[in-house]
């Protein structure tokens, strides 16, 4: 038998899945018909992608009369091309196709006197200096506002810029005496 995949197995047999997962943003155009969103999401889950969030801008129509949808998901890097291919096979219009257009998403955890050191300033500095967009933020402050708090921020970063962005965030952390827990980027193979 060896490694021959069972027929009907939708997984790419060559995909390696032990390198961790990485987040991606894919922009799609959907026809305004019932069931269209569901059929667009199925190929992602069927091919090893994990959906993080969906921005379905119903009121916003593209010049061609379609509805733009932005899907945030994570998957092992080796599975990503398979997902895009499966979307196209399902007749979904993937607008941003070139790999250089895919946004990257990373999470960082910040620890320290976040409130005292002006969290909103910290986040603006991350957006400005690291050229990132803070997509969501989760904060816990078990010791009250003047104690040690932790925050997890999910950041959107231009493709291929994660390493530089993390260096900048690390410098901001040093500057504000915060501990920055960075992600270990999967597929870091150089």
């Amino acid at each position: 038998m060896g490694n021959v995949p069972a027929s009907g197995d939708e997984d790419d047999p060559d995909a390696e899945t032990d390198g961790g997962v990485r987040a991606y943003t894919v922009r799609l155009e959907l026809v305004d018909e019932p069931g269209e969103l569901l059929s667009a999401l199925a190929p992602i889950a069927d091919n090893g992608g994990n959906l993080l969030s969906i921005h379905h801008e119903r009121g916003n129509i593209t010049p061609r009369g379609h509805i733009p949808v932005e899907v945030d998901m994570e998957c092992p890097p080796d599975r990503f091309d398979g997902i895009v291919e499966a979307l196209r096979d399902a007749g979904i219009n993937v607008i941003q196709a070139g790999e250089e257009h895919y946004g990257e998403e990373i999470s960082v955890v910040l620890i320290g006197h976040l409130v005292e050191t002006d969290l909103s300033n910290t986040l603006s500095r991350i957006e400005d200096e690291a050229d990132a967009i803070v997509q969501d933020l989760s904060l816990t402050s078990p010791e009250g506002t003047d104690g040690v708090a932790s925050a997890r921020a999910r950041l959107a970063i231009n493709s291929g810029r994660s390493t530089e962005a993390l260096e900048t965030i690390r410098a901001i952390g040093t500057d504000k005496e915060l501990t920055v827990v960075e992600p270990l980027l999967a597929g870091d193979a150089a």
């Binding site: 960082v108 620890i111 708090a149 997890r152 270990l184």
Partner: protein, 315 residues
Amino acid sequence: MKLAILGAGDVGRSVADLAGEYGHDVVALADSSHAAVDPDGIAVESALERKVGGEAVGTADPEDVFDTDYDVLVEATPTTLGDAEPGFSHVQRALEADRHAVLANKGPVAERYEELRALEAESAGSIRFEATVGGAIPILSTIEDSTPEAVTAVRGVLNGTANFILTRMAAEGLDYEHVLAEAQDLGVAEADPTFDVDGTDAALKFVILANVLSDGGFSLEDATVEGIQNIPGSALDLAAEDGRTIRLIGEATRDGVRVGPRLVPENGALAVTGTRNIVQIETRHAGSLHTSGRGAGGPETATAVLSDVGRLPPL
């Protein structure tokens, strides 16, 4: 081979205990004040009983070890930083006498790698040090088999104490101090856990790996090191919300060494639990290799020492 073992802690004692199974004779076993020496092979069992019972390991002077006829010096004295003494001098004396040396002591290989290699080049003996990185796990031999030139990076978890603490914090939602105290009660953390939790111990191992990849050039002061003391339980909770967890991860490449708490996928390969260690060896031609196992402990580390002895050429 005839083994002379310096250091009678957990590792040195286990090497003495297991040497017979691997077909080797122990001609000397010494701690810092006494030694058991016999060119025909010491009575290992009674020497170990004396040592464990708090008596002198033998009646000889540790200095006598160097005058006996041995093939391999096993350096298993405690790791020291900076000049890495007295471990470095022990290895130096073995090589200058054209004998092999196998190290379980990280100090000399992390802090004075080039000097060791220079001494080895002048000697009929060679050095090996599998036991300094990841206890029982065959990491250096895997790199050696892939050839160091074909390895681009090594990353992973090489400190069981820190990994145990982070695992317990994530599982129980407890804070660092609480879990550290528990780890000390269980004997997982030492009374002074500083080097484990501040990243120094892991950094020494990744410095050794960087030295192997680059054939030298690194010491502890070249490493960027951050510990886990500042990680509250709440940070692990936040990481878990996102399907991630925090581990003390080291990375060694030809560009440098970095050790610090990092976010990794909760169910990913590097998120081993408890005291287990793992490394990912990234290669040019064979993708990544993962190797995992017990990274510390007397018998575990002794198996790495004895594997090294088995790989040495006859003198």
